[in-house]
Every structure is written in C-alpha cells, then in structure tokens.
Symmetry: D2
C-alpha cells in the first residue's frame, strides 16, 4: 500500500483530462503535460522535466503509443519520444502506464516503479461495460432493424461477450452465443441464450447482427456467407476476427468498432482507470 499525491498526467486523449479532474476531486494535486489542446487540462510547463518535478506519480496514456516511437498525445503538438531520456525523467517515481513491457523496453526504468494498469483484470472487466454499450449503439444505428426480435450472434463468451449478450437479451433480441468449452456452453444455456460451438457456427443459420469478440479470424468469407444476414461488428482488438474485405465483396455491412470505452464513454473510462490505479496503490508494493 502506498500514497500518491502529486500526479502528472502526460499525453493521451480527453480521458486523461477527465482522469485528472477525478483525481483532483479526491484531493490530489494534478498537473498535465502534452494535453494543451484539451480545454480542461491546463498544462503550463515548458518541458516534461519541469512538469514531473515534484510529482510522486506519473500517468501515461492508453494506448501508450500509436507509432511505436512516441507517446500517444493526440491533444498536443509536443512530441515525446519513448526513449532513455523519458526513462530518466521518470526515475524514482510511480509510473502508471498501459503496455508496461513495451515501455520498460524503451529505456532504463529500473529506478522507477512501473505499474501496468491495462494488464489489470478489473480494468478489462469494467471496460467491457462501455464496450458493450458502444456496440449496442453501433448496432442500432447501422441497421434498418431493431435489436428487439432480431437474431443476434455473439462470438465469444469472455468479458465483453458476457455483458453484451446479457444486454441484447434484455432488449428482447434472440441471442445465440458461441464458445468452445462445455462449461461455457452450459453457462450460455443457463443464462437463457442459445449455445453454439464455435466450430459449428456455419451451420447455425443467418443472423441480423453478428458481434465478434474473438481476436482470431473466425469470420472468413465462407463463414460470413453462411451466417451474415445483416450487420457484422468486429469488437476484437487488431487484427480482429472478421474479414472486412470479404464483407465488402459479399455486400455485407461489416465494420470494426474499436476503443469504444475511450470513444463513446471517455468520462466513465477515466473513472475506470482511476479506480484501477487506486486498487494498485491499495495493494502491496511489487
């Protein structure tokens, strides 16, 4: 267990600004860097070194980087290379980041305390809520049919699959969920949905809505031809599990819906990051 009081938030999208506001509300001192285009985050530091000076904790964005070289900072003109210099600046501090392994591979972080909030189970679970809601909104707005009384397929019964199938069922959809393990198939049945083995998807009919949550190529051209009767939404992180090129060829409305928490519910997503960071501070030091 440890305390963090002076926190510097570096880079990221509007979630990080919301995150800062939540931490400030808890009585923390919050400074921002590389967020100057975000109205609410008011960074007034000339350099990262000044910004982090006096801080005991630093929060890096989600994702950590998009180009593999610089910190993800879409609301800033400042470029922050992921390099040895950054590592030096963060020396001795608590560093909360996503993709911790990637970060520590870019410099010497041995003298810092690096925590990967993205690796935490509770963040993944709680993020499944805005993901499921974002998927519902995408489905409703992209089809001429209602979810109610439609035939929906959710591929995969992990965190997102569990919450999304629950939401769809509650909205009156006919819900089929695919999984591989007998125990999962039984739980799908127990929840009131129709269970189908992932391997038997092709023979299970056509669906008005397909939601894929499995990050491997489940919906290739052949499977799409047999199952897609409307909209196909890929929720699995890249490279995803739906052949979107095949969708085009087949005239199917297929698309990926990624990073839904940050896009459709940044305020809630910020709260989730905050809660996860708080959980980390409440646990034993690593």
């Amino acid at each position: 267990m440890f305390d963090i009081n002076d926190i510097c938030i570096i880079g990221g999208d509007e979630r990080q600004a919301y995150l800062g506001a939540l931490l400030a509300k808890d009585g923390k001192t919050v400074t921002y860097f590389a967020l100057e285009k975000c109205g609410e985050a008011q960074p007034d530091y000339a350099s990262l070194r000044f910004a982090v000076k006096g801080c005991d904790a630093v929060i890096l964005p989600m994702p950590l980087t998009k180009d593999g070289k610089t910190l993800y900072a879409p609301l800033s003109d400042i470029e922050i290379p992921l390099d040895e210099e950054l590592a030096k600046s963060l020396s001795g501090k608590r560093v909360f980041c996503s993709y911790g392994e990637k970060l520590t591979a870019t410099g010497d972080y041995k003298s810092a305390f690096v925590y990967d909030y993205l690796a935490r189970e509770e963040l993944a679970v709680l993020n499944a809520v805005p993901t499921a809601e974002g998927a519902l909104a995408a489905a409703i707005t992209s089809s001429g049919k209602t979810l109610h009384k439609s035939r929906c397929l959710v591929a995969g019964f992990g965190r997102i699959g569990k919450l999304l199938s629950r939401d769809l069922y509650a909205l009156g959809a006919g819900v089929t969920v695919s999984a591989r393990k007998p125990g999962d198939l039984a739980m799908i049945t127990a929840c009131g949905y129709t269970a189908v083995k992932t391997a038997a998807l092709e023979g299970s009919g056509k669906y008005d809505f397909i939601f894929n949550t499995i990050p491997s190529m489940i919906f290739g051209e052949k499977t799409l031809e047999k199952t897609a009767g409307g909209v196909v939404i890929d929720l699995a992180s890249k490279p995803g599990g739906v052949d979107l090129e095949a969708c085009k060829r087949l005239g199917i409305n297929g698309f990926a819906a990624l990073s839904l928490p940050g896009r459709t519910a940044p305020q809630t997503a910020a709260g989730i990051i905050k809660e996860t960071i708080c959980n980390i501070t409440r646990e034993d030091d690593p």
Copy 2:
C-alpha cells in the same frame, strides 16, 4: 374482414419500399408511385391514375404531408397535391393512411374506404420499441458516460416511457420515472424503478440522462437548471416538452430525437405498418 391483393404504395420514405417488399413476400401484387428514387421500388407509371388502376388498395405515407398541401414523397420529384383529384383517383378503393381526418378534409372520400393506421393503438405500441432503441443509441453516443450506473430520468410512463425505462434498468442504470397518477407511480415502484410525481421533479436531484416523453412543456429553464446534469433528450412529438433554447443558454446538451422508428429502424417500422394494416383487414368493415 376483407382481402387486399393489388396494392399501390404512393410516396413516403424508404419504409414504404420495405413495406412493399413485405407485402410482395406475402403474395400481394405491389406497384409503387412517387418512389422512383428508391432503388428497390420500381414505379413505371406515367400518372397516379394509371398506377392505382386495377388496385384494390392504396397505402399513403407516414407522415401524410409535411407542407400541408402535397403528399409526403421525399424519394420522388413528382408532386401530388392533396386535393379533390386525388380523392377521385382513389374512389372505390381501400385507402390506408396516416392522419385520416386530414386526408378526408382535402376531398370527397365518401366513395373510398379510408383507414387510419396511425390511429391504431398497436402501431403506437410497436413503434415505441424502435423509439426506445433509438433513444438508447442517442444517449450512448451523446454522453461521455455510460448508461450503466448513471442516473436516468424518464418523464412519463406511457408506451415509450414503459419500454425505455425497462431497457435502461436492464442496462444497469439507476432509473427514476415520473408520472402523475398514484396507480402509475405504484407500477413504477413495482417495476423496480424510483417513482417521482411529475409535479415534484424539480426536487428530485440531478440526472446524467433525461428522456422526456410528455408532449407538454415539462422541462422549462427552471426545471432544467435543477434536474439536468448531462444529456436531455426530448422524445415527445412537437412542440415537445423540453425548452431547447433554455438548454443552449444553460450550456446543457439538449436535443429532440423525433421519428426514430423511421430513422433508425425503417425495416422494422415497415413491418409494424404491415402488421397494423393486416389487423385492420382482419376486423369488421367499418
């Protein structure tokens, strides 16, 4: 009870094309007029008189008119005045329309059989489903917060209020519903929501999401100031029940979401119109 077999669909938006497809699937002969910009509806008649010739039934669009003078036909360059000539063309036929009173006021329809599908209770009820889904999507995409764990207020416990509050509750929102009658307030409680008298709305706290379904000015400036803590969506038909100008002044994200069935689920909406027309044909002649 009566049969309709040769049906002419005149004007309207893409719902009418879907409607034609559904009727054709049931074995009806369907012709279209004033829908030539809609790919699927293939009208090839030079004039309305030719188009309706041989038909025993005619379906007019929803809404009937937007300008009060001509039939609503956004997918056509043809202008069809609501006049005595139209009435003459439809003489002797079954005419299914919305706003039947408005139609019959524009000409002599005594020799036709006019049915108002919009006046039917089942159409109103079934349309509440796509309306509720459209409202969910609007809420999800317009706020930085999830519905889950949010504070939602549904003003009014009619058809839309009933279904929308049910959906919100299922998605994990804290749901407060306002009504006036003790019986309705009791049913709101029985459904697991928090009941509040419409007159006592102002003292009931702030809400992340407000959905108004009451077609009279409930959310004026003063009430908005006390209750609006996020998004305010007006689902009530014009003139609505939310002072959108006051929203602007107060910096509140308030907007009207109208005609949701036709906009977010035209295919389902077409099915609802079809079912309603079928119900009418199954009943006794008027």
Copy 3:
C-alpha cells in the same frame, strides 16, 4: 389532506400487527383490538368502545369479513358483529377499511369518514408484486421442471400478468401472454413475449406452467386438455378462471393460489396498506 395520530387496529391477520408496528415507527400511537393471539400486538382493552376511545382513526382488516356477518379476526376469540353498534362506536372517526360499500351497508356510517383502501389502484398494483413472487414460488415448488427454458402461459395482461410475465421472462422461461385488445397484444410483443389472443388459446400449444389471472372461466375442460402440459395455477380471485374439478378428472396438477400478499409476504403487504393509507391522508377530503 388530514392527519391521523391515534390509530386503533381492529382484527385481521398478522399483516395488521406489522401495519401497527410500521405506524408506530412513524410516531403514531397505535392500539390493537381483536388481535390478542398475535404476540406483537398487545391489546389490553376490555371492549371495542374502550379501544377506540381517543383514537382519531380506525383500521379494519382485509378482508373485511369472511362470513359476511362478523369482522375477520382470525387471531382473536372476540367476535365483532358488523352491525349498527360497530357503526356507532366508529362515529366521528376516520375509518380505513376494505370493501367500504359492504361496511357502510351494515350500519349508519354517515357520521364517520370511511375510506376504502382496497379500492385504491396503488394498493392493487403494489400487491401484484408479492402475488407474482408467490406465484413463482408456487410454480417452482410444484413442478419437476425449472421455470428456466420452460413454456409458460400467463392468461391476462393486467397488473399481475404484467409483473409475472416480466419475472418469468427474466428467469429464462419462454413466455406467452394472452390478451384480447390489439394494443395489449402489441405491448406483449414489445416486451419480448409471445402474444396470443385469449380466444385463440386452445390452438397455441401445451405449456409446462399456466398462470391464470382472469376472473372468469377461461380454462374449462376442453381448453385444459389442449393447453395444460404441467402445472396450472389460478391466481384470479373467486370464482377464479380454472375448472379445478376438470383438472382432477384430467390428472392435471391444478390449484388456486389466493391471497398471496398476506400469505407469502405479510410484512411487505402491511407496508403497502400503510403507504396506501398515507396516500389517502395526503389527498383532499372526500
């Protein structure tokens, strides 16, 4: 609007004792009469006249009477005739009762203020909650099958039908609901259930569980033969809507489950009566 402060509770089952406790918790002075076998209610008055002396309000039980002649008082050896003397004793007081018309027919109540709480819509609605829960428990314990994945029929879409079908659906049952009006049938569909016209019940297949809520003979021998595939529970007040004799002849497990609020949830039922009485006091005098 008016206040009641000194309240005498006369007769009734354990609900009335719970009711007294709730009123006492609200700061009311509560005395009991004809409840001496109920541990918690401590009546120590020699006669009804003494008991009601000083009271401004009297609460009579639900039901008012079982034999038509004396007040319902199963927890007492005292017999209280419904007669002119009772009316005289209650002169000038607020009298809250069930079956107000029956009461006022037994004596001269013109000098009392008689309120019929049983006639209130909110009491009927709120009582539907314990009724639905009691029906669930009766169904679960009387059948070898789970409600989950069973075929359930709810006859009638009134207060009990609405809540019970909602509960069954939530527990994973396949729910069919019967009604007569197109608007109700549409709402049944909108809620995600299967709608069937009451007149067409016979052709709708066999059900593992049938719940009747309609107080007229819906399930006669012929209908039972065609629809009853398991348990048949009659929730409609007498004379009910299920021919229980025919059930016996057909070897069907059919039974009536009446007065469920008082039987399975007397504490909640007492709270409902209390709330209804409070609502009455908050309204204008009659």
Copy 4:
C-alpha cells in the same frame, strides 16, 4: 466417441426414473434395478446380474451413496453393497457415476469404463439453474418480505452466485455480491450489483436475505450478528458456510437448502444428467 444403446439404471431417486424415460425417448433400451417403488420405472429382474446382462452401459445414482457402504437407492428395498461383487457385475461396461473415485476405490473397475458425470463442468453449471430457482422459492416462502425492494446478499460469485444474483436483480431486489478477486468484484459491478470484498462483509450492513454459496465458514456468529437482518440460506455443500447453531442462538431464521436440483426440479435435473452423459459419449474415449 462411442454409442450406448442398452442402458441399465440402478438405484437413485425419481430423477433416475425421469432419466430413463428421456433415454427411452431417444430410442435407447432402458432397464431399471433397485427403483421398484418408483411407479414409472418397472424393474423386473431378480438380481443385479440379470438386470445388467446385455447392457452396454450402466448409470449409477447421484449421490453414489449416503452411508458410504451401499448404493443410494431410496426407492428400493434392495441393498446393493459397494463392493468387489458390484465391480465384477459391471465389468466390461460403460459405467456412468457420480463420485467416480469413491466408486473405483470399492472394487476392481479396471475392466470397466468409468465416467464421472458429476465431475463435469457443464453438469455443475446447468445444476446451478434449478439451485437458483429453488433458492428463490425458499426465500420467498420463508420471509414476510418480498425479494422485490429487499436487500439481498449473495456470498460468492461462482456458478450459483452468478445465476442467483442475476435472478434476484431481475426480480427487483437490491443485490450485493461478495467475492475476493478484483476481477470478480469488477464483474459484479459491471453486472449492476454492489460488490463487497468477502473480508469486508461485516461492515456492509444488514440484509433481508443472505444466500451463502461458499463452502467454508463465512457466516459465524459475529458476522451473522452484523449482517443477518432476516433469512439466511446456506446453499453451499456440507459442511456449509453458515453457523446454523449460532443462527438459533441469535434468533435468526437460518437453514441449509441442499440438493435443490433433485428436490425441486427432478425432471430438469434428469435432463441435465442425460445431456452430460451424451456429451461424454460424444467425446474421445478416455
């Protein structure tokens, strides 16, 4: 994968009779032994040896034994010792049983093919459905309050905890669920319930209904004093997790509700065993 065609069902309660009926419906030849008091199962074999002769599969009951020495056979006067002779009789056959290890410890089963259906994940999951329903019925009938609007605590978020909390939430209860892992606590929150760490149960308030699913002593006297405000139901298998003696001392209505699938839904439970056995036959030989 293998076929079973001639099946002998030995001992057990009425579930086994239902199981036989289901298998017969699938075209299997079914014989019974040690079930002679069950009307529907017609055993007409003088000895177990004759009964199993010609069978390729044998199904033993759940539980396997109650006294540790003889097969569980409450519907029979025949006593079947779990001994070497039984093992010999079953030689060469497919033996489906519960507690496979206990069985194989009682004799030489090397020449038989022993499958433990009770050890299968899908059976445990599917049995959680009748368990949850049985728990609902027990709660409804043992308390003066409705589940609706009550405060419920479900201790443990395993199979039963997941389904039961879902059911309670759907019935309008306020649901708190306890767990230990941050990921589980997050999923509890994501499902719309209140999450509480098992270690922090005592400080979480009083509950109208407590359902324990954890098979270790969670609810000792001290915890009961702080949390039990009504009924306490222990669903965990022996030795359970509620100190029932302490309940008595504290005047709390506490009781264990065990073997609910077999007791409240034997027909469904039989179907679950059948499905599990079918799954086993569909998989590779061990």
